[in-house]
């Protein structure tokens, strides 16, 4: 990606600054005018703070605190409470949400807790400074989203327009649903802005991720927030503890699914290391190819889900070698005759189909030894993008290892490998992927 395109309003720091300004204004407002209905504010603020402690990690290292978000949204959409009208207004919603979030984050800032939270990651590649940045992201995103919802709803409710119109009963429910849906979309855009910068994805890919998670846990969060505000109108503050429980269950289910997915990732890494332990491939080859492939995938605009499958396929791309009686010299499949490469790829895809990973991964590996151009010179349109990416990443690693074996330095070896690929660009390898490799190498984002 061209570095210049990451500027403007869509920078995380700009989002943080906007949130901080908003919170400052809201706190000032509350300090001057005092809290309206402090018990209600305290109840919602407490749930926001408690929800902050129970977070989940979405695919692609995105974090979310469902309970906190739902409670904040419920406060923003709160009209009547147990039959009596409320009057907290937009700025108080922002202030309570902000204070609740900060209160929830405060214990995490203590050093002892932080080390405990830093559990073993899937790839043991800790992104520097991630926890703090993620915390700032989540807090500012929550604040801005809640402010958006409150801005849509509270002025309308406070002006008494709903009573005059009269919008009651099902119409009121529909209005809240509409506001909640708009808020969800706004939140997805905001999250995509923040996530794009952190993960180095294209904006479209990041937005697709966010919309996808909106279909899952996202809709549960928004629906819970909206329902709690509706129910609080009927039964009062008891709605908060009673009706947030389904969300806790959703959170537990989500955690479980994520834990199992992480375990599957570990197992696939072990399976990928099998060829290394057996002496068929050089140590670390599978991991390096996977890292390069993911960097290329990001460069070419893949989303988190596609990247995960790409990573699986790249890790297991050499599994087929296990069926060879004698290891390939140096494990470098890129130097084998094409027919033999295709045979190994096909055998590997057979093994992969026996694993529980999605079918696409096996299909990708089956095609990864196929050249980019057909014998008649036309580009092979049926070739999956992932197969083209892994083909380039694998050849790059093989060539680089070989160049290093000739005594070249790390940087020179990488450059020499790239030059070799460029010679083949457009024949054996997809030119778009080779160009992406050159760009990623230039930007220094390709893991060495």
């Amino acid at each position: 990606m061209r570095p210049g395109r990451r500027g403007g309003f869509l920078r995380p720091s700009a989002v943080h600054a906007a949130a901080a300004l908003l919170l400052g204004a809201a706190l000032l407002h509350v300090a001057v005018h005092g809290l309206v209905q402090p018990q209600v504010a305290l109840a919602f603020g407490t749930v926001v703070a408690a929800g902050e402690r129970a977070r989940i990690t979405l695919p692609g290292d995105r974090e979310q605190a469902p309970l906190g978000t739902a409670a904040a949204l419920a406060y923003a959409l709160l009209g009547p409470l147990h039959g009596t009208p409320t009057g907290h207004g937009t700025l108080q919603v922002v202030a309570v949400t902000g204070l609740g979030t900060l209160a929830g984050l405060l214990p995490l800032a203590l050093p002892g807790v932080r080390t405990r939270r830093a559990g073993p990651g899937r790839h043991a590649r800790p992104a520097p400074g991630l926890p703090d940045a993620a915390r700032a992201d989540i807090a500012s995103r929550r604040l801005l989203t809640t402010a958006f919802a409150a801005l849509l709803f509270q002025p309308v409710y406070g002006s008494g327009l709903l009573d005059r119109a009269p919008i009651v009963g099902p119409a009121y429910g529909a209005l809240l649903t509409g506001v909640a849906a708009l808020t969800a979309l706004c939140d997805a855009v905001l999250a995509a802005v923040l996530h794009r910068a952190r993960a180095g994805l294209r904006f479209a890919a990041a937005l697709e991720d966010e919309l996808r998670s909106l279909l899952g846990i996202g809709s549960a969060i928004v629906a819970t927030g909206m329902l709690v505000s509706l129910l609080a109108g009927e039964v009062g503050l008891w709605a908060l503890p009673l009706f947030c429980t389904p969300l806790l269950l959703a959170q537990a289910s989500f955690r479980r699914a994520a834990a199992i997915r992480a375990t599957t990732g570990q197992t696939i890494e072990a399976l990928a290391r099998a060829t290394e332990v057996a002496g068929y491939t050089p140590p670390g080859h599978a991991r390096r190819v996977a890292d390069t492939a993911c960097a290329l995938g990001r460069e070419l605009g893949l989303g988190t889900r596609d990247l995960a499958l790409l990573e699986y396929a790249a890790l297991m791309h050499d599994i087929g070698q296990l069926s060879l009686v004698e290891p390939v010299p140096g494990g470098a499949t890129a130097m084998l005759p094409p027919a033999e490469q295709q045979r190994i790829a096909r055998l590997g895809s057979e093994v992969i189909r026996r694993t529980g990973v999605p079918r696409r991964v096996g299909d990708q590996v089956a095609r990864l030894a196929d050249p980019f151009r057909l014998p008649d010179g036309a580009a092979d349109r049926s070739l999956p993008l992932a197969a083209r990416i892994i083909r380039v990443a694998n050849a790059h690693d093989d060539l680089r290892t070989e160049a290093r074996g000739r005594g070249l330095s790390e940087a020179t070896a990488a450059f020499a490998a790239l030059e070799r690929l460029r010679l083949e660009r457009g024949r054996g390898y997809d030119p778009a992927v080779v160009d992406a490799l050159a760009r990623a190498g230039a930007a220094g984002r390709e893991p060495a």
């Binding site: 846990i217 269950l249 699914a257 375990t263 570990q266 072990a270 296990l322």
Partner: protein, 522 residues
């Protein structure tokens, strides 16, 4: 990886609990079990089922009459129909299957039905009842009982379908009737109308508790009567976990039902009530997805085992059988279920380090030189290296590293002795030796089970832990042991090189290649 041979309901109420647990924070099946019983009911069980069916019919009887009083009342038929429909849909949705309306729609459009998928388990506690609970809170008892019926009669359940569906419909109807009756007697409807919280919530929770209790008793008695299968004593820790696993989901589902009921009674109408099902349905769906991912993970572990068996084809199925024998032994030792599951992984993966040993050495029938022997003996270390980062394997990793240690300390790789050898390793070494002796290899016939047992007992104390040998003997006495039969045509000259049935010209190996079975159990 777990033995999934029987597709029948498990024998004990709690016995299968931990085995079914697939990850952190999961729960097993228990009282909210909607799962019915049995292949063909006999004797007392059949009479009991008939009695429950008759009871369910009695519960539905007031619908035909205009009974007044606390248990009767006018029935809001459209509301009942909508709730029954929602209950039917919610349950299929929650297990990740097409809803009945989707199935009917496909049939009307003459599209082929989707490829059959195995229903994943719904929420912990095996059942998704928020709509049913809402019916209990909103309708008179007889009508609440009717809400349960269509869903149970169209549920996705393993065969024999008709019997199970009838039984489930009957027992759920009785439970719903009882719950609604309790709720009415506590004056719940008035509390709900007045939005008198928290009293209304307490009433609803009492109704949910009544539902669970009746359901548990009905299902539990059926399981006791249907004792065709051996009964296993449940571990106390598992029982405690089971209780926790039931109470929490039941309360959450009760809260979901209450949410639907409050919104339906309130001014917002059915629309908001349907929306209230969204959070719970999504959690159930995610739980089902987690279940599917667990299956995928097990397939991946199996692929790791297959990778070994590609190289060392003589030992096909050996890994699976060692895993199974280790599990049988652990049950004799009274091990907790979650440790047993880890042990199963350890047994199945114990030889994974053979990947790092030269293929030629593994396939050699003749004697090895000293250097070659050392090269083979390094395989536990390789195996440990390979699985070191798999956190879910826990103590199984030590079991893999030390499964060739001997009790007298003359084993490898560390030369540990006595109790310093991890328990898993002591179990696996016995199971490993037993399966090696009883299975037929190319160069020798397998020994009979009795002979292998005698040999194990002879080596107990020097090579093996006597307690483990004792456990194996007891397990084999109880369950029998089916050693791997020699393949048709014998082993001669057969050195499979090409894995997994890919047609391939056999230019690398002499002899017919291309045949590998996927290990022991299906």
């Amino acid at each position: 990886m777990r033995d999934r041979a029987p597709r029948r309901p498990d024998s004990g109420l709690f016995s299968s609990l931990a085995r079914e647990r697939d990850g952190p924070g999961t729960a097993g099946e228990a009282d909210i079990a909607s799962e019915g019983e049995g292949d063909a009911l006999t004797g007392a069980a059949a009479r009991y089922a008939a009695a429950v069916l008759a009871g369910a019919a009695c519960c539905l009887l007031p619908l035909a009459t205009t009974l007044r009083g606390p248990l009767g009342g006018t029935v809001d038929w459209p509301r009942l129909a909508l709730l029954a429909f929602l209950h039917t849909c919610a349950e299929s949705l929650a297990v990740g299957l097409p809803t009945p309306c989707a199935r009917v729609g496909r049939r009307l459009l003459r599209r082929p039905p989707r490829e059959p998928r195995e229903p994943a388990r719904a929420l912990p506690g095996r059942g998704f009842f928020p709509v049913l609970f809402a019916g209990v809170l909103l309708l008179p008892p007889a009508a609440a009982a009717l809400v349960a019926v269509p869903g149970a009669l169209t549920a996705h359940i393993p065969r024999p379908r008709r019997l199970r569906r009838l039984w489930n419909a009957a027992q759920l109807a009785v439970a719903a009737f009882a719950a609604a009756a309790v709720y009415r007697l506590l004056g719940g409807p008035h509390l709900l109308l007045g939005a008198d919280f928290p009293a209304a919530a307490l009433g609803a929770m009492a109704a949910v508790a009544a539902f669970c209790l009746v359901n548990a008793v009905l299902v539990g008695v059926m399981r006791q009567l249907d004792t065709a299968r051996p009964h296993r004593a449940a571990h106390p820790a598992d029982l405690a976990r089971a209780a926790g696993a039931v109470v929490l989901p039941a309360l959450v589902q009760g809260a979901g039902g209450l949410m639907v009921a409050v919104l339906w009674q309130g001014p917002y109408g059915a629309f908001a009530a349907v929306l209230a099902l969204l959070p719970l349905s999504i959690s159930a769906w995610m739980f089902a997805q987690g279940h599917r991912e667990a299956g995928a993970h097990q397939a991946t572990v199996r692929a790791l085992v297959q990778a070994v068996e590609i190289k060392d084809a003589y030992t096909r199925g050996h890994s699976e059988r060692v895993g199974r024998a280790a599990v049988l032994m652990a049950r004799q030792l009274g091990m907790a279920e979650d440790r047993i599951r880890t042990l199963h992984f350890a047994g199945t993966l114990h030889d994974v380090g053979k990947l790092g040993v030269a293929t030629e050495l593994l396939r050699r029938n003749g004697p090895l030189t000293e250097a070659e022997r050392r090269a083979v003996e390094v395989h536990p270390v390789f195996g440990h290296e390979l699985v070191r980062d798999l956190a879910f394997l826990g103590e199984a990793r030590a079991g893999i590293l030390h499964h060739h240690e001997r009790l007298d300390g003359r084993g490898y790789p560390a030369g540990l002795a006595g109790d310093r050898i991890p328990e898993f390793a002591r179990i696996i070494s016995v199971a490993d030796a037993f399966d090696s002796m009883t299975s037929t290899r190319s160069y020798r016939r397998g020994r009979p089970v009795t002979e292998a047992v005698t040999e194990l007992q002879r080596c107990a104390g020097s090579q093996f832990d006597p307690a483990m040998v004792q456990a194996l003997v007891a397990a084999v006495d109880l369950h029998g042991w089916q050693p791997e039969p020699p393949p048709p045509g014998g082993w001669d000259g057969e050195v499979p090189d090409i894995p997994l049935g890919v047609p391939e010209p056999a230019h690398r190996v002499p002899g017919p290649g291309g045949r590998i079975t996927a290990g022991g159990s299906p």
